[in-house]
């Protein structure tokens, strides 16, 4: 899944509204179609907000310490008072672990998305605004990076730096930056071709000024949407890496790590493998829906351009 997610956000087609003027979808239908769009924004917002809240709460309150074993409580079933989702093989509360897992997922996912957003924006703008040689160098560099399977990079990086949250963030950055660069480059190019830019240039504005004053605000929508989608992809990737044992380790806890531990107990207690997986699906689903919803609101043009 992990590398599936690598290009999913950028290449994922927008659930494209039909190009105007084509009589396939009558206006009545069009209105009906708007409804699920707003719905996806709302559902996405709600899901994302829930997980953000959980992660915030986990900083101040946890039902119990998710790392301290209480052997007499081991493998309690779901529904046990005080441990409503049960406990794992060392008697550690599942809810507490899921809460800390949310924190890790958000930290790593957002960290990777933020870093690659920064680097990708810088590289993408540079490629779009500079001469042909810079553009070619950056674009080909991105192509090369994209051709190295992300898993391989992550494995080797984990061996080189030792696995942990920081390494995972860097691995995500390495995966995402090239596709981010491509998206930002093409969005910026689109803006740079507009008439008002030519006007600004004629007016004597410098390159940097034009980029900061005119281009950035115009691609902000794209950036926000892409950030959301890569955030989701980052969470999926982190889960996969931790599941493989090259992501985070205890005392850090992640949903992928919980699944790794749960698989060893599959023959003893199978529900352990359910909860962290559900958490991943809901959080990623929430972010993806949010991203799609935002795309409609912020940048209807992007939807067409992407497909």
């Amino acid at each position: 899944m992990m590398t599936l997610s690598k290009s999913t956000p950028s290449a994922a087609p927008a659930d494209g509204p039909a190009t105007s003027g084509v009589p396939i979808s009558p206006p009545a239908r069009k209105r009906r179609r708007r409804l699920p769009r707003n719905a996806s924004l709302i559902i996405g917002l709600v899901l994302t907000a829930i997980f953000l809240t959980v992660a915030l709460v986990s900083l101040f309150y946890l039902p119990s310490n998710p790392n301290i074993p209480v052997i007499r409580n081991r493998l309690l079933p779901a529904g046990t008072p005080g441990h409503w989702l049960g406990t794992d093989v060392l008697g550690r509360d599942i809810i507490a672990q899921l809460m800390v897992g949310a924190r890790t997922s958000i930290l790593v996912g957002a960290g990777g998305a933020t870093l690659s957003l920064l680097l990708g924006t810088i590289a993408g703008l540079a490629a779009a605004a500079s001469g042909k040689i810079t553009d070619e160098a950056i674009s080909r560099g991105a192509d090369i990076m994209l051709s190295i399977p992300g898993m391989v990079t992550a494995l080797v990086l984990a061996a080189t730096m030792g696995s942990g949250a920081l390494t995972t963030i860097l691995a995500l950055t390495a995966f995402f930056t090239p596709s981010f660069t491509r998206v930002i480059r093409s969005a910026a190019m689109g803006v740079l071709n507009e008439d008002f830019i030519t006007a600004a240039k004629l007016y004597g504005r410098g390159k940097i000024f034009v980029l900061a004053r005119h281009v950035l605000p115009n691609i902000a929508g794209v950036m926000i949407v892409q950030f959301t989608l890569y955030f989701a992809a980052g969470i999926l990737t982190e889960a996969g890496l931790s599941y493989l044992g090259v992501g985070v380790h205890r005392p850090s806890i992640s949903w992928g790590l919980m699944l790794n531990e749960a698989q060893q107990q599959v023959g003893v207690s199978s529900p352990l493998a359910i909860w962290p997986g559900l958490a991943i699906v809901l959080m990623v689903l929430g972010l993806n829906l949010l991203g799609d919803g935002l795309r409609d609101v912020l940048d209807p043009k992007l939807a067409r351009r992407a497909s």
């Binding site: 790392n67 301290i68 074993p69 081991r74 060392l90 030792g162 696995s163 380790h249 205890r250």
Partner: protein
């Protein structure tokens, strides 16, 4: 979420319960039959949990190799039996001089599985190769050896500078394995020997295929064709056994025991527990730490909770020895006879009193071995609760090996290891030769040396026990639990015997 999933889970449970009833009502006869096709074909399929990566028994010390190659494919000069007697191996007979400094081996007139005759030159080559082995445990047998010479075409004489128990015992272990010089280049994938089986193919991470060695000198193995499938996922291995796809899991690690008894596999299959392939689990504390500090760490280790964590008290006992019961330096210790028994309050008091909280400690943990990460999950929080400032450093195998064995001094404070340990590893004639835990004790080294030159078995055992005792009391090795060897066999597959050459499973003894 709960409301939705529970019914599904329940339904699944019901389905499997129904399936079980169905199977027990109609399937019992089928199951016994399911094993018979392979029995009739003179075959069996065993499961290994780990892939050795290399079969080079000169360079590798990995259990995953030692389980299958020695005794089955490559034989030592002699075999040490459980009752203490010695049987012939590649050496048909032998004489030991009265001063125990000259060993003369008469080589058996036989061939290797590739058809080449076994010569005195091959024996000399094999012993010299083992003498130069980079594996300390193997080379240690040859410390007293001064000469390995050919007497005639069938006789080899080994001269020692002093009596050496390590040498004699080594001749019945991996140190004494005999291989043909001509096949040295393929040892890592296709080791050749005189054993009851020859290795047909080895596919890493997948399978070993053995077939009976037609030129074997002894009694032909009862089952001519043996497949060993490597299934790293424990549950998958148990499933394969239950489904009748395989006939035995001869070595089942502790992380599967709870599942095994929960699924009642011990009732459907023959459960064998044997101490010799067991694994003592012990904490290793770096000797650069102050002795009082080491003792305090030792007192935070709750053996019972380790044992309970695996949910299979029937297979593991709390212990205070790192030896296997068949090793001469074994002594029947338990948690109470430890030099530093579990005492959390006492440890906390000492930590507060001596200000140990200010000493940062690093716990090196192997990130990819489940039955070693579980002890770390227990040990690190316990040490933290006691007041130690300990951080867990999760690293992969290569970094772990580098950190602990290659670094000098080794960069770790605490770690947990599993498996039999040869006390010789910690011999330290002078501080510059300190072993990987930086442990160096003149007293300990002397006890080991005395054991080596012992002329009687009793004396040898007494000195070895003494050395093991020193190691424990110095709180360098803190034994935690002793896991038994556990195997599951198809009820029709009989004849399992405890290993004679290290931990090797002697497949030739099994029969339908």
């Amino acid at each position: 979420m709960q409301g939705k999933l529970n019914p599904i889970a329940k339904r699944l449970g019901l389905m499997s319960a129904a399936a079980a009833i169905f199977a027990s009502a109609f399937g019992a006869a089928d199951m016994a039959e399911a094993a018979s096709p392979r029995a009739a074909e003179n075959k069996m399929v065993l499961v290994a949990r780990q892939d050795p990566g290399t079969l080079d028994f000169v360079k590798s010390n990995l259990t995953a190799m030692r389980l299958w190659i020695p005794a089955n494919v490559v034989e030592p000069l002699v075999f040490f039996n459980k009752d203490g007697s010695v049987s012939p191996g590649v050496a048909e007979s032998w004489t030991i001089s009265d001063d125990k400094k000259t060993y003369t081996f008469k080589i058996r007139e036989t061939t290797f599985s590739n058809g080449a005759p076994v010569t005195a030159e091959d024996v000399i080559y094999s012993l010299n190769t083992m003498k130069a082995s980079p594996v300390v445990d193997y080379a240690a047998a040859y410390e007293a050896v001064t000469a390995i010479e050919k007497v005639d075409d069938r006789t080899v004489k080994v001269t020692l500078s002093r009596p050496s128990q390590n040498f004699w015992r080594g001749m019945g272990a991996i140190s004494g394995l005999i291989q043909p010089e001509a096949s040295a280049s393929t040892i890592a994938t296709n080791p050749i020997g005189t054993g009851p089986y020859k290795l047909k193919t080895y596919t890493t991470n997948s399978t070993f295929e053995f077939e009976a060695n037609p030129s074997y000198w002894g009694e032909k193995p009862a089952v001519a064709n043996v497949t060993v499938r490597i299934i790293t996922d424990g549950t998958a291995g148990l499933n394969a056994l239950e489904a009748g796809e395989v006939d035995s899991l001869p070595v089942i690690t502790i992380d599967l025991w709870e599942q095994l008894s929960k699924r009642e596999l011990d009732k459907k299959f023959t459960l064998v527990t044997y101490p010799q392939v067991g694994e003592p689990t012990y904490a290793v504390l770096n000797q650069k730490l102050d002795k009082d500090l080491r003792e305090t760490i030792a007192r935070t280790l709750d053996r019972q909770s380790y044992n309970d964590a695996f949910g299979a008290a029937w297979g593991a006992e709390n212990t205070c020895t790192f030896a296997l019961p068949n090793q001469v330096w074994y002594s029947p210790e338990n948690a109470e006879t430890c030099p530093f028994p579990y005492d959390m309050e006492g440890a906390m008091a000492t930590i507060a009193e001596k200000g140990y909280a200010s000493t940062p400690l690093e716990y090196a943990s192997l990130s990819d071995v489940p039955d070693l990460s579980l002890p770390a999950d227990i040990m690190v929080p316990a040490m933290q609760a006691a007041g130690f400032n300990v951080t867990r450093n999760a690293i992969d195998l290569a970094r772990y090996s580098q950190l602990i064995f290659q670094g000098r001094p080794p960069q770790f404070d605490v770690t947990i290891m599993s498996g039999d340990a040869n006390p010789v590893q910690w011999a330290c004639p002078d501080p510059t030769k300190a072993g990987w835990s930086t442990y160096c004790s003149a007293e300990y080294t002397k006890a080991l040396a005395d054991a080596d030159v012992a002329l009687t078995d009793e004396d040898y055992a007494a000195q070895m026990k003494k050395s093991a005792d020193i190691l424990r009391k110095d709180a360098v090795i803190v034994p935690l639990i002793a896991k038994k060897g556990v195997g599951l066999f198809n009820p029709e597959l009989k004849g399992f015997q405890e290993p004679r050459v290290g931990v090797a499973i002697e497949m030739g003894k099994l029969h339908w």
